[in-house]
Amino acid sequence: MNYPIWFLPGTGGGLLIALISIMHVFVSHFAVGGGLYLIYAEKKGLKENSRPILDFTKRHARFFLLVTMVFGSISGVGIWFIIALVNPAATSLLIHNFVFGWAAEWVFFTVEIAAAFVYYYMFGRMDAKTHLLVGWLYFIAAWMSLLLINGIIGVMLTPGNWADSRDFWAGFFNPGFFPSLVFRTFLALTIAACYGFFSASFTADRKVRVAMTRFSAKWALVSLLAAIVSGFWYLSVLPGESYGLVLGKSPTIASLIPFTAGGVLSLLVLMLGAGILRPRLNLKPVACLAMLGALVVMGGFEWTREAARRPYVINQVMFANGILPKDMDRLNQNGYLKNALWVQNREVSGENLVAAGQELFIHQCYACHTVGGRNNDIVRLTGKMSYRALENYIKKIHEVRYFMPPFAGTGQEGRALAAYIAGGLHGKDVQDPVRTAEGKAAGLGLFEDNCSSCHAAEDLNGIFAGVAIEEIIGRLASLNEISDEMQPFTGTREEQELLAAFLKGEEQGEQPEKGTGGKAVFTTHCTMCHGVTDMKRRVANKERQELFSMLGRLEQLQRAMPPFRGTRQEREVLASFLATLGQGGK
């Protein structure tokens, strides 16, 4: 609200940050670990008195220089540029608080550059001992850069006392400082080893290729295992909410886990198979695959770190959209638009509802949502929601989804935002529906008020068919047992009955679906959260017996799932139904 927002509706700033930062950290961690790798590669060449290994080390040093000095250093500046463009408020806060930390990092960056140039250009032209010392100086300077940056950006995820005190040292030595430093150091060594593995695959001399492939693979395996262990340490110091997000409550992180795990696994397999056991298999495509694996691991980590901070950009201190939690009361009371800079609509009226809503969207939602883009497309995500549903959803957005910031502004501003999304983007009617106390309209109204932020009415069709009104009311009162993202419905008795009748489909004119077959059991017990297509993927190629067993321990499979509450017979027919689904049946 303090700074202008660079609005690229179809692209989104988050994607740009991700692209630049993932590529940068992949190279910058190489710049750290690679220093140590070069020293030990050179020592190996000297110890074995091997000219070919020394030649390999020099070639690798040249590759190192080209990658780290050009791409690494410029993309580092690039991150600085892009975060300042996408989130100037957070960047400004960090720069002003930690300016001398950044400045000290700049000193090490300078030493790093000078040492890297001397190391490469004086390779073989200096006595070996001094040359190795130059290598050590490079590595120490690079690692100190990592240490300093780690302290500063660590505060974004684990701010500790800094959130209140803003004390430099409290922020720098935040709760995540040491675990993150150890984790990143091992990750840097893993990545450096992968680059060494890659370099080795380009070596024509077979003997050197085998020797340096094995050398690199040993580094990679040991450091990757150490990174995994320290990763768990890092995880253990995360604040409760972030910990929950990392363990699967964040859809972003949940979708990343298979990729990251795949990256780790592929690295383990490649380094063991084509590195240690059969180093001759380290051909260029294999090495490229290893690099891809390392990139995926690095990207997975960075993206997870980013998503684990939600709804904040600086945990507990600043929301992702740059709004400070301490300003919320003022903004809710006096209005966001009146207090924000860089807006044209200061008041919301009937005439500017959509235009004001667009400005509110740009200021409060665009930090994470694109309009018609690939990244969290607001058009796709709200396609099934009516104006009224949106209006209600906006009020309690942060309660329904922890990882989203609360809407800041008055009720009228909330309606303007809903009008922009429903009317401006979807072309839907943005008039308040005439509310009635009776019948279908009342049931629909209650549904929209309470359920439509997550569910479309058609998705729930048939779920409650055949279920008694009283039982539906009972389930509505214990929604939190189904998922901790839901809250029990707390309406009056009359409202409970109206909503239950609506859900049952009586007021939608539908015939209740009867039966105790697998599909009916699935409809009753699973479709609250799962669709058939989604379930097909989950149960693909699973045996009936395995599925039966899984149904008995759903809560252990995923924390968010409640235990299966049906009878044994229902569990049996459901397992059969799911097994059929998993084999491609319907």
Binding site: S92, I95, V99, F100, V111, F117
Partner: protein, 363 residues
Amino acid sequence: MAPLIIPQPDTIPVSWGWFQLLLLVTFPLHLLAMNAMLGGLAIGIVQQLRGGPLQRQLAHRIAIALPLVIAFVVNLGVAPLLFVQVLYGQFLYSSSVLMGVFWILIVPILILAYYGAYLYDFRFTRLGSAGPWVAVFSLFLLVLVGFFLSNNMLLMVTPERFGEYFAHRNGTLLSFGQPGFWPRFLHMLLGALAIGSLFVALLGRFGKAERPKLASHAEKVGMSCFLILTFFNILMGFWYLLSLPEELRRLFMGGNAGATTAFAVALLLMAGALIVTYRKKFWLAFFHAIGLVVVMTFMRSWLRSAYLRDVFTLDQLQVVPQYSPMIFFFVILAIGIVCLGWLMKKTREAYRLEQGNRQRLKN
């Protein structure tokens, strides 16, 4: 007139004077490296296109030095960019967003230019006649980066244009249409080429004993380019001065004692540089030029403050004091300088040993 949109600045940990000092110390270093990069590359291209063994040798030597110089241009640009953000962040972040598309383009452009420079260096011989065109490509990209930087530096001090954000939410606003942009940019560019010429002369002096002809040629080319370019840049400078709004121009014409003194010193240094260059006194010309860059940095700083004085002065920045991080930085800086000194010493020793061995083999 619509009210100006200016964000609230964040607090700073020590008095603004420290940051101003650090900015004034580090920015000239960046400028000198940038001048060496642009001037060196431009002269290298011309030398290679002209042909002749000495010209080719000089171009090759420039090509070898170029990646190192670019690395330090970037590195030395980081510190002043950091300190200027601390002092003027509310203006710089805003103007950067306003021209976001071009501002972020600097990154890929710089990467391309840098790889071009490495290609020019590592493949100097193999590139043959294509070499100068690779270098021209890099030079063009580097000038383009300078163009975008100049746009932002002018935009950030003209907050009256910030209201145009609403027509440029996608970050496409530039300031090259504003009065004063072109003389400012061209003054900077010509100055860079001129000072860079002296860098070429300096480069020729390395290994003077081994290649005296190359050293003499480099000095001759560098000094004469400096003389000619500086002469034209004086005219450009006056154009720039005249293009400034009157109240800002008056600052250097007696309106402000410090700014006027700095301007007078700059004129004296300029005259001195021209005279000693004409008399072929390299080191004197070199130090005059360095002095000139430092003084110009001071003048630039005055001008920026003057542009913004109606809406912001540095003493408005709120200090929440914490001095220990600054002390930590100065300690690290001292360690860093010692490390750089050690690297230079060891490199020089190894280089001398290598030269000695070569000489012995020759004998």
